[in-house]
């Protein structure tokens, strides 16, 4: 996908030979082993895999919340590994939005304050931040809830606000960790439909889920097992390996 800015020629998110180890020696746990993955603007990629396969580690590394043992994470071309903590925090505020299963809205702030907060923290004047927040809330269809507090909203409405917060202003990378886990089937589907639409509008999305029905909203589904990618629905599969050597 390309735009007039020309920045979309590179993937929004690039993970290159990414590894993450916990501990050393015999007790070392290899959460990720040399994983590479790119997510373009306009693309939604789902990550599936059993517990402990590395899904959450992948998401934390992609969002700069954790540091890789080796390999690179690039967000809009910027290598997170070479950044100071301050620059990393700024990049997270400007470029990366998280959506969690439990919404994670600040209960003391209204919907519009929740959405405008990351922009204000980034130095955007309050009036501009509020305008951007209202635009983001409008995009997700809940502008009428702007002055409502989280506890006066349904789960589906809170998640919509969380998606607005994740993609407010210039943010283009949406990292979603089981975003429908706390929602009923129909509300969950409406949230996925919304994430799909935001990606169709140009965002890049990485969606961790254990539900195949939800993963199916993505352009590609990748499977992790033991920290490695074992398959990708966007890749042509072959049957070469189904029979072991010497079979028969």
């Amino acid at each position: 996908m390309t735009t007039a800015s020309g920045r979309d020629s590179q993937p929004v998110l690039q993970l290159r030979s990414l590894s993450r180890d916990h501990g050393t020696g015999a007790t070392a746990v290899h959460a990720l082993r040399g994983l590479s993955l790119s997510v373009d603007a306009g693309e939604l990629v789902a990550v599936m895999g059993p517990s402990g396969s590395g899904k959450s580690t992948l998401l934390a590394l992609a969002g700069g919340l954790d540091t890789a043992s080796s390999g690179q994470v690039l967000v809009e071309g910027a290598d997170l590994g070479g950044m100071s903590r301050r620059d990393l925090a700024r990049l997270r505020r400007r470029s990366v939005g998280y959506v969690f299963q439990d919404f994670n809205l600040l209960p003391a702030l209204t919907a519009i304050e929740n959405v405008s907060l990351p922009r204000e923290l980034d130095g955007t004047p309050a009036r501009t931040a509020r305008r951007e927040a209202l635009a983001a809330l409008t995009d997700v269809g809940v502008s009428e809830l702007a002055d409502r507090f989280p506890d006066a909203m349904s789960g589906g409405q809170q998640q919509r606000v969380a998606i607005a917060r994740a993609l407010v202003g210039p943010r283009r990378l949406l990292l979603a960790d089981e975003p429908t886990g706390a929602l009923d089937s129909e509300t969950g589907e409406s949230v996925l439909r919304l994430i799909r639409r935001r990606c169709d509008d140009g965002a890049a999305g990485l969606l961790v889920t254990h539900e195949a029905r939800h993963a199916a909203w993505a352009d590609r589904v990748v499977f992790l097992r033991d920290g490695t990618m074992i398959d990708d629905t966007g890749r042509v599969s072959t049957v070469d390996s189904l029979l072991a050597d010497g079979a028969g």
Binding site: R213, A216, L242, L243, D245
Partner: protein, 207 residues
């Protein structure tokens, strides 16, 4: 799938030409169960023989114009209408749950069971290969769903059915994968009893 009862359900709404019935059937179920005209007329012939529908020359109650465009002649100009007997059969169909025992055997379950007892088959690869394919199908169904209009409720329900069935298959394959990962045969290439992965299969149907 009972084409017979599907046609009765459509005729319960209004009399129709055979050609119209085919179009309505496909519009209701999407392209999930495409019918050829021959299947429709064969089934209508049996329904007429059994007294469940009556055939008359002339226009259906609400038009539709399908008959005059049909190339196969005046036989296809017949209008079919449901009879009282047909309504009774239709009511019985709606009131009777679909029996699991009468559904076709699950080829995938049998394939995995066979993969386990065949020597040196990479069963995990078979599982993964199938899961990827099922997920691609799930993606296709989901794309169709995004394009479907809210007014197409029948089609949306059929799509949901396909989506939930595909999801169940993926979950079962996940389960198989986890069981396989825990399973340790004592000797490479030996015949492995299939009990570990076949306990969730439906009971075999006598042939």
């Amino acid at each position: 799938m009972s084409i017979r009862h599907g046609l009765l359900a459509l005729l319960h709404r209004q009399p129709m030409y055979g050609y119209q019935l085919r179009s309505e059937f496909e519009a209701t179920t999407g392209s999930t169960w495409p019918l050829n005209v021959g299947q429709v007329y064969t089934t209508l012939g049996r329904l007429e023989r059994d007294g469940c529908v009556s055939a008359n020359a002339g226009s259906p109650a609400h038009g539709g114009g399908g008959g005059s465009e049909d190339p196969q002649g005046e036989e296809l100009q017949k209008t079919y209408a449901i009879t009282d007997l047909g309504r009774t059969e239709l009511t019985l169909w709606f009131a009777t749950p679909v029996s699991r025992a009468r559904r076709p055997r699950d080829e995938l379950a049998i394939k995995l069971a066979m993969a386990l007892v065949a020597p040196a088959v990479d069963v995990a690869a078979v599982v993964q290969f199938q899961r990827t394919d099922t997920l691609r199908a799930l993606q296709d169904y989901t794309r169709l769903k995004t394009k479907a209009e809210d007014g197409e409720l029948s089609w949306l329900l059929v799509l949901d059915s396909l989506i939930f069935a595909a999801e169940a298959e993926v979950r079962w394959l996940d389960h198989c994968e986890a069981r396989l990962a825990r399973h340790r045969p004592t000797r490479v290439g030996m015949v492995v009893p299939p009990v570990t992965t076949t306990q969730n299969l439906p009971k075999p149907v006598p042939s």
